[in-house]
Assembly symmetry: none
Homo-oligomer: 213 residues x 4
């Protein structure tokens, strides 16, 4: 435990430092040297744990995202109704990004643009979580909760795109103010736009024409 513990500690320490530095400066501008300094280890030590700068980058999301997604997946069976599932996922993203600003900066500004990462292991969790949303939307269509002519992929893009866009701007603007909870209003609009609800929409009405002479 002693060795293992110490070892694991150093691993985490490096990851944390890398997250912080990458998050602040971006992948290319960040240097191993600064990460090492912040982690309190030598540069060479970083290479004991991670094969390369890119490996270190890719190793970061593994932990954080996986944890968040596993929580969501575990919760999923207990949530009833497509809408609630979507809401849960959306809040999952929201909280993940909000509570881990360096991480979200890293993901939104660096990782997302890295094709290699998209194919790397660390991205699997993100994919699974995106799949959860898609499933929920499709479930909603099947169940009649949502209109059947909607494109589930588009709806998911709207949800994820909005969340990313808001956090993205937040980062670029220097993370000054806190990000308000925009999930409910956003879902209000999107769900309002795709729900097939009791109150028939205008385009669903039946018109009774007066008898023609």
């Amino acid at each position: 435990m002693g060795n293992d513990y110490r070892s694991k500690d150093k691993f985490s320490v490096i990851i944390d430092a890398a997250l912080e530095v990458f998050g602040e400066k971006g992948y290319y501008t960040a240097t191993i040297s600064e990460i090492a300094r912040k982690a309190g280890v030598s540069e060479a030590t970083i290479y004991e744990y991670f094969g390369s700068k890119e490996d270190l980058l890719f190793a970061i999301p593994g932990e954080i995202t996986t944890q968040a997604v596993e929580f969501l997946e575990a919760m999923s069976p207990y949530i009833k109704g497509a809408e609630n599932k979507i809401r849960a996922s959306a809040y999952g993203y929201f909280n993940l990004y909000k509570n881990n600003p360096d991480y979200s900066s890293l993901v939104l500004l660096d990782l997302k643009h890295n094709r290699k990462f998209m194919e790397a292991e660390g991205y699997q969790a993100v994919k699974r979580s995106a799949a959860l949303i898609l499933d929920a939307i499709e479930e909603g269509v099947r169940s009649g909760e949502f209109a059947e002519d909607i494109d589930p992929y588009l709806v998911r893009s709207m949800i994820l795109g909005t969340i990313e866009h808001v956090f993205f701007r937040w980062h670029l603007k220097g993370r000054k103010e806190e990000v308000a909870d925009f999930i409910d209003p956003m879902l209000g609009i999107i769900l309002g736009g795709i729900k097939r609800d009791g109150q028939p929409r205008a385009y669903q009405i039946n018109i009774t024409l007066p008898p023609q002479p």
Copy 2:
């Protein structure tokens, strides 16, 4: 005229080459040397036209975006109704991104993450175009077209976020298939979610009349 033509040509040739290389490899991975090779000029020549690699990057959007935005702005007064204005802007983005894949790759994958660029001149056009959408939304709220409790900034984020997200994924997936026109369905959902309910949406319905006896 001859001279001028040749000069302008070289400027454009470099911009085009840079657009291509930056678009493919990203700003940091791209090298001046490759851009020079692709442009068919020497590296030194690039520095005759652009002071630095970053200047070159920032010079790219100036032309393309400005043109697109100016068209939108010129058109704006002739478009009546908030919804139509929004639609016009959304299609503006859509077409811009769709017709200039290298450019959209560059903007979405590189420029957007560059704080310096956000403050640079080339970005002004993008800002103006984003302002157009916001104005339209606010106009819709004032006119009663849209519910008054909506957050115009959120709505704009939804529109832009969705567009960016879709194109973003398209780039990361290798631009294989053509991007379908998702603007109408997207706006259908969003506008459907923000329109003031009392207002009958007669204009959206298709009526099939029963056969007349």
Copy 3:
């Protein structure tokens, strides 16, 4: 005359600009581009008149120094006495350096350190003027004006070294105050130290020895 005049003008204009820029920034830090700008000609034009940056550097002293030295040489026969000849030469240097600060900066800070220049044509005038001083000193020794055990080369080094040192420091200190006339005091000391004069020095006294037994 028109052509020639114009042509000569441009030559001078370039020399003057070069003198100014070299004098201010030093040879290596100065750029042809800045000289061209200051001269109001294109860089290429400079190469019409001078083969290279170094040629331009070497061309500068030719005019100024030659003029000053020729004046000295012309005057020389009319000056009587070693001391007066030395004084004339020393003041020649003094005035040259004082009245042409850029030139003296150039010579003291750049040209002097350039072995190629020492062998170049432009340096001949300087050499001739240094020879004048040497001749005068030797003349003084021959005539008995100066002590015969002095080293004329050393004396010349003292004169030139002092003048250069003073102006050198003046340049490095930013040419703030005007350089005072230190030639007379300096020569007072040096000549005082080498003159074999009527007022017998201590070492020239006659000793009357007590009668030897």
Copy 4:
């Protein structure tokens, strides 16, 4: 100790190589690449030890000069009489320049012309040593050893100017012959020129005795 030794070695090895190359070619013409080659290290290694080419240049005098000056300063209190103090300092310069030809070349041909260096730390030692001379001269004036109407700054300029001029020419002429000891003759002249006349200069005379009957 082993490590420390090796480390110090490399530092010195680079300094020595730089001294040699700068001394030979001058600062601007010298290249890091050649210094690295001569030092037997990579260019990158040089940058591990010195932040920039200029830093490397400025780091050179620190050691050599400081040592020489500290020796002088330590000796100073034990030397009695202004004249002897001046002589000691002058020989200090003389030996420094003579025993370290590369160094003196560097100082006289490169460093002295660098305004930044004049303000840099490495130059402090030179300044202190120049102050020593000035103090000695002023002491001589106060004590009546020297005439009171002399300008101590001028006298110092004469001493330093002469020394620099002689070594300077030596370098430019290719350091062929050895530099003779010109300090004593030079001081003989200068001191002869500034000494208060009343004081008999018994120690300088050669006496030829008349034939004894």
